[in-house]
């Protein structure tokens, strides 16, 4: 397959801001201690160089194709069409199967690209990243193993104590796991710890697991990840002769959402939906639904964006069953797209996602990542509501659920 090349059609300004022209609100930027500025400038310059370096881009693509297995199929799911009311009522439903990637999620695409960039453009010797026991660190550690870079993974002490397949795999890939005992002992302080570590070692490169962090990370990660959407768009064209009517993706930091939807930003006819975790319900306050809960603008981990926080600006911990969505912020470009209305937002509760997980296993023979269940639930609901037999719906099935099996089997047994 010839993969369509990347085209920039939603650039931030020079300082890394996306500005909503109506409200004047800015998203993104580079809010970070002066100690990290040189590191970021290096990444910024490197990234610009990389995007013009044809050999780099070709080599990267070759590895993404043959190692990450990025040309995954798009599966038409008649089972889900049935559940939504039948093709004759709601149209066709397609699943982009990035669960079939190496390391079983969309994450390895940006993770591998970032590490490949660190090695070949920045000539970095070491990678620093963080994890909340989700897919990112595993993917980064895998890339580092293959590309022979050392890797340091920061994890909150509470997350480190939990049994976690992803964490174990990260260790097998040879990562140096640094347990962080600060603050809430969870993902946010682990991210801060990773940034601090980078501040101490400017020859390393920090890899962000989503479209978050200070400029140029949000831009870089979505640019790397968007190859998923470029492929998907072409595949849809081959399948149905045109772009889909809707694109649905879950939104934690926003990487899998921008990955699949970025190439459709300019196509007004394509409705794009981002789905957040409503946790125990938006009203309960125990959720990770930054946009849906109308969280205010804050400055989190180097970027201006919507943030779950209290009236004094202390960041509120998010709460959700899905470790991959357990984040109190959302990437700035996504917040911007939400503010303009280009991306519409919905939220799914944990309970709904868990039921969707069981349904997917039993009705489609697919073991989805719990993260993906939030989008599937919301997509089915939306598709039912739209009730348009002429539509083609594309859902990003962004991961496989091996690491959710123990908890989900317990849930199943507890609820039988």
């Amino acid at each position: 397959m010839k993969i369509p090349p990347f085209k920039e059609h939603n650039p931030p300004d020079n300082l890394g801001y996306w500005t909503n022209k109506k409200t004047g609100e800015k998203y993104g930027g580079q809010y970070i201690s002066p100690l990290l500025i040189p590191n970021l400038k290096k990444v910024e310059t490197g990234f610009k160089k990389a995007m013009k370096n044809k050999k780099f881009l070709a080599d990267l693509e070759e590895q993404l194709v043959n190692h990450i297995g990025i040309v995954t199929p798009i599966l038409r799911s008649k089972e889900l069409e049935e559940i939504a009311g039948g093709e004759k009522k709601v149209g066709k439903i397609f699943l982009k199967r990035t669960d079939l990637h190496h390391d079983s999620s969309h994450k390895p695409v940006s993770a591998f690209s970032s590490v490949f960039f660190a090695k070949h453009i920045l000539k970095a010797k070491k990678i620093i990243t963080e994890t909340g026991a989700s897919m990112n660190a595993r993917a980064v550690a895998s890339a580092c193993a293959k590309l022979n870079l050392s890797v340091e993974v920061h994890i909150g002490a509470l997350d480190a104590e939990k049994v976690s397949l992803n964490k174990d795999i990260t260790e097998l890939y040879g990562a140096d796991i640094k347990v962080c005992h600060d603050s809430t002992k969870s993902l946010l302080p682990a991210m801060a710890a990773a940034l601090r570590s980078w501040q101490s070692d400017p020859t390393a490169m920090y890899v962000v697991g989503s479209v978050c962090g200070p400029h140029p990370y949000p831009l870089m990660v979505r640019t790397f990840a968007s190859i998923i959407g470029r492929i998907a768009k072409k595949q849809m064209k081959d399948l149905i002769g045109k772009s889909p009517s809707t694109v649905f993706a879950v939104c934690g930091g926003g990487s899998n959402l921008s990955a699949i939807s970025y190439p459709f930003y300019n196509e007004k006819s394509v409705d794009i939906f981002g789905i957040e975790s409503a946790g125990k319900g938006i009203a309960s306050g125990a959720h990770a639904a930054t946009i849906t809960s109308k969280a205010p603008i804050g400055i989190l981990l180097g970027a201006r964006s919507n943030v779950l926080m209290d009236a004094d600006g202390q960041v509120d911990p998010s709460e959700t069953e899905a470790s991959g969505l357990d984040f109190s912020g959302t990437g700035p470009e996504i917040c911007y797209m939400a503010s303009t209305g280009r991306i519409k937002f919905r939220a799914t509760t944990d309970k709904e996602a868990q039921e969707t997980f069981l349904m997917m296993c039993k009705k489609t023979g697919i073991l989805p990542a719990i993260e993906a269940c939030y989008v599937i639930h919301a997509a089915l609901k939306e598709i039912k509501k739209r009730k348009n037999p002429k539509e083609n719906h594309l859902i990003h099935l962004c991961g496989s659920g091996e690491s959710n099996v123990a908890r989900m089997l317990k849930y199943k047994k507890d609820n039988e």
Binding site: S33, L35, Q314
Partner: protein, 273 residues
């Protein structure tokens, strides 16, 4: 230059010494203790730097983050820090400068204008905003408000920053500039005086602004050496560690203040030239 700093620098010059800057997180371990500590420290410090806690700070060491946690648990909020500073100022007689140190999110949420107004009202003389990027619109606004109110905007400069960055920073920096002695986190390494020398040279090419040095200063000897190179010597982590030690040992606020004060007293003697 801010008036308080003007007086302080003049006095230091006359006494042939540098200025000692003591850092504590506001309300660590609680309001009352923090108040007593600040009152006590005002005797030995020309400048008191007061941390406004942020639970997701990106550049603090574990030591400072723990202090932030303690403060937040005891109810630290931006408003309360202002209250604390007011309370302290009411009880001290020394001509000490007050500086807040924090992250942009807190200020943004509080409102930049309101924050600086309240600083002014509380008797704060200057602000450090760790993650306020020189190029960010918020930075311009903070600069504007501080300047309007005759307060100091103290910028950090690291050994890894290039001359262009330094130039940018100095444009908005007032009263003094804060040199970070090594690329790392506070308290993690020993002070690096070579870095300080190099940075001072670069700064001096562009400006006569007083220079402060921080990061890694934790002994009398460190203070002595640093004060040879700089107008202000900042000591943070090791003071915060003392607060933790004393409060873990169950000292009440007065005794805790004494305990920390004794430590700071002997450190501060190093600033004499």
């Amino acid at each position: 230059m801010n008036k308080t700093f003007q007086r302080i620098f003049a006095k230091a010059k006359s006494e042939n010494k540098s200025c000692f800057v003591g850092f504590v997180t506001g309300m660590d371990p609680d309001y009352e203790s923090s108040k007593q500590i600040l009152i006590e420290l005002s005797k030995y410090c020309s400048v008191l730097e007061i941390g406004v806690s942020f639970n997701t700070s990106t550049s603090d060491s574990s030591i400072i983050m723990s202090a932030n946690d303690r403060a937040i648990k005891s109810g630290a909020k931006t408003e309360k820090i202002f209250q604390l500073i007011k309370d302290v100022k009411r009880e001290i007689t020394s001509d000490t400068a007050f500086v807040t140190m924090g992250y942009l999110n807190q200020i943004h949420v509080y409102g930049i204008e309101r924050y600086i107004e309240d600083c002014k009202k509380s008797g704060v003389d200057g602000c450090i905003v760790v993650d306020s990027n020189n190029e960010a619109p918020e930075d311009d606004q903070i600069f504007k408000e501080l300047t309007k109110n005759n307060m100091a905007f103290i910028k950090l400069i690291a050994p890894t920053n290039d001359s262009n960055y330094i130039k940018q920073s100095l444009k908005k920096c007032s009263s003094w500039v804060y040199i970070v002695s090594y690329a790392g986190v506070t308290g993690s390494k020993d002070v690096n005086l070579n870095n300080v020398k190099k940075l001072s040279k670069m700064i001096r090419k562009q400006s006569k602004i007083p220079i402060g040095v921080g990061f890694g200063i934790k002994s009398l000897d460190d203070v002595k050496k640093a004060s040879k190179l700089a107008d202000l010597v900042v000591c943070g982590s090791s003071i915060v560690e003392k607060i933790k030690e004393g409060s873990q040992n169950g000292l009440d606020s007065k005794n805790l203040a004494q305990f920390v004060g004794q430590y700071v007293k002997q450190l501060s003697e190093g600033v004499k030239h």
